[in-house]
Symmetry: C2
Subunit: 391 residues, 2 copies
């Protein structure tokens, strides 16, 4: 096992009606004036925003608001949020929404206390300080509620890039599974896919002998395998929602990533799809992962066979482990289709003729020099083939 | 799933040579003067204590020392530590050792900033504040390095009792698996047993539909099942030690305990054994658990069948699930014997004629009114029968 640091200091308040503790928690974590940051109408229509405001009012904590975050959150609104926080002397950012809202909140929180352009952080500069952040999660997916990561798309060029730093870890996250019960099935399924991708990306490693991490990943993938279809079949199944919501946090606070290398090629390849077509990240991953896994399978066929046996219940073919490995990938692909995810470019809304452009941005954009690295290092030819497998 | 809070803010520094970061971490977490608290000779003989001191010296952090912690740590040394810290204006307690040293450090850290008798906390008073604590772990077992818990034995009456509070969570814990390679096999096995007990106690629940927690527990038990015998066979197996050390932390920071009821009857019943005979806690648990599990099995036979199938690889007997349940308990018992743990009172050094005394302290000591509660509520008759099953 490689040396590592693990740090996940976020306070999690989990369960029914926990959004009513927002004010109490902002106070506990030192907030005096809050920016409530959110997305579109559902947070307003459902009454959630009003409940959050009441909770802040009860603690006499003043706030300003900024809505309008879109999926694949944009830099434009981040600049707006930074200006608003500076003007209003905000010292705490409260994200009410999903991963996009939380990621946008993290960018704002870091940008407010930084003299330069916040985009510097998304070009590799480490985030050292930020305003305190709290979250009220409305979709189980990105894991941003327990992670030090943020992904933002810059409008000029549509570059989708990530930034990281302990300073943007939420001080608290409120997770009420009931808030996810009103999600459309497609969004629930996209979230489920994203969570499973976070687990698979950590499973695809070139390190050996880290059994504890393998087992933890398998545990959460088995949970998702069990609970995913139950949520699609019955959106009001609170317990299934709860298991998925907690698994989604555990999948991405790096509990399942310690002590070894990780992949992230599927994420990197998908990011260009959602940046260009504005598709749901999870839907893009559903199309990307089976292609990437099939293309890279022979790099370590036993790793894919292990996943096939332990997660998907395949029988091990001891004479032809590649058959088992392939069966596991197919089982995963069929699972994703069964919960309503797209299976190819067409269903995703992507176009074959864009592949050269996708590959160019992927492998040459933002300082990259022709390859992306993870479980396997992939060059432009590899990436072209992988995108073509998705058609 | 029941509502819950989860908070595990400890910073973990894991891997080879990480004890040399002690000084840097004490500084990062605000320590100006340190009490180094430890047990016996091995920490001194191995040179670990000197390396820790050098690390503090490098950061110009002054320290005082208090050694002499014994397994099942005693209140007497805690009082001594509290006096020393007050006299020397210590503001940070650095535990160098195993669970006993860490638990003693937690008691000292809480006692220094409390006007009353620190034992109040072990009689149910919540710990609200304490000096900051760091740990350098030398045995994978108690999980105290990532928990808010401490267990101390009061010399008068030999009461062994626990206290808890976020204030005594370590600010940082240094986990170097190589430090555990020199442990005698018996101690390694006792540690393995304790870790598995922490997992089983969380598995024995009366709540339903918390699949994520079941799966996480199974993941860590499967890890222990795989790595335990490898460590006993080859004490220098770093990777096996590392997997066990991390599983030991995860087993007890409540990652595997969210959203539902837990048991802790086996721990409670064992505590009287180690208090009376001063045996290793893990060894006591190895004798206690199979008896408790067998006695309470019919309370929820499917739960034990699930453990049997998923952890121990038993075939499910769909017509007689109690047969499968029993097989799982036997498999666990045989596993414990195979790594060198005692199987009965005699091997543990306990005496049948003490059973009335054990039951009396267990069910009547320290304010209890004739029963202990967990997965099943057990009265004096039940506890007598359980102790007799261990003979």
């Amino acid at each position: 096992m490689e040396n590592f640091e693990f740090y996940s200091p976020t306070f999690f308040e989990f369960g029914k009606d926990t959004e009513n503790k927002a004010g109490e928690l902002v106070k506990r974590f030192g907030g005096n004036k809050v920016l409530i940051h959110y997305g579109g109408g559902s947070v307003v229509r459902s009454g959630l925003l009003d409940r959050v405001k009441s909770s802040l009012d009860n603690e006499n904590i003043p706030y300003v608001e900024l809505g309008g975050v879109k999926p694949n959150p944009r830099s434009g609104l981040v600049y707006e949020g930074i200006d608003l926080c500076k003007k209003e002397n905000v010292d705490f950012v409260l994200a009410v929404g999903g991963g996009s809202v939380i990621d946008s909140s993290k960018a704002i929180a870091a940008g407010v206390v930084y003299d330069g352009d916040f985009w510097d952080f998304y070009q590799g500069k480490r985030i050292e300080k930020a305003l305190n952040i709290g979250t009220i999660l409305t979709i189980a997916a990105a894991g941003s509620e327990g992670s030090p990561d943020s992904v933002i798309t810059k409008e000029e060029g549509m570059f989708k890039r990530g930034a990281s730093g302990d300073a943007i870890r939420p001080k608290f996250s409120i997770l009420n599974p009931a808030l996810t019960q009103t999600l459309p099935s497609f969004q629930s399924a996209a979230g489920i896919t994203d969570i499973m991708a976070h687990l698979y990306e950590r499973y695809l490693t070139n390190s050996t002998e880290v059994e504890v991490t393998d087992r933890l990943i398998e545990a959460l993938l088995l949970t998702m395998k069990h609970e995913g279809p139950r949520v699609i079949e019955n959106p009001d199944n609170y317990d299934a929602r709860a298991n998925i919501m907690w698994a989604g946090m555990m999948a991405h606070n790096n509990s399942c990533g310690v002590g070894r290398s990780q992949d992230w090629n599927s994420h990197t390849i998908e990011h260009e799809l959602s940046a260009l077509y504005d598709c749901a990240h999870g839907a893009g991953l559903a199309v990307t992962m089976p292609a990437v896994f099939t293309y890279t399978m022979n790099h370590n066929v036993m790793r894919f066979a292990k996943a096939a046996v332990r997660i998907w219940g395949c029988q091990m073919d001891f004479e032809h482990p590649e058959v088992t490995a392939k069966e596991g990938i197919e089982a995963f692909r069929n699972y994703l289709i069964s919960i309503g995810m797209p299976k190819n470019f067409e269903e995703l809304g992507a176009k074959e003729e864009d592949i050269p452009k996708l590959v160019n941005v992927l492998c040459r954009g933002d300082g990259r020099e022709g390859t992306i690295s993870g479980f396997v290092t992939l060059n432009e030819e590899d990436c072209t083939k992988i995108y073509k497998m998705m058609v």
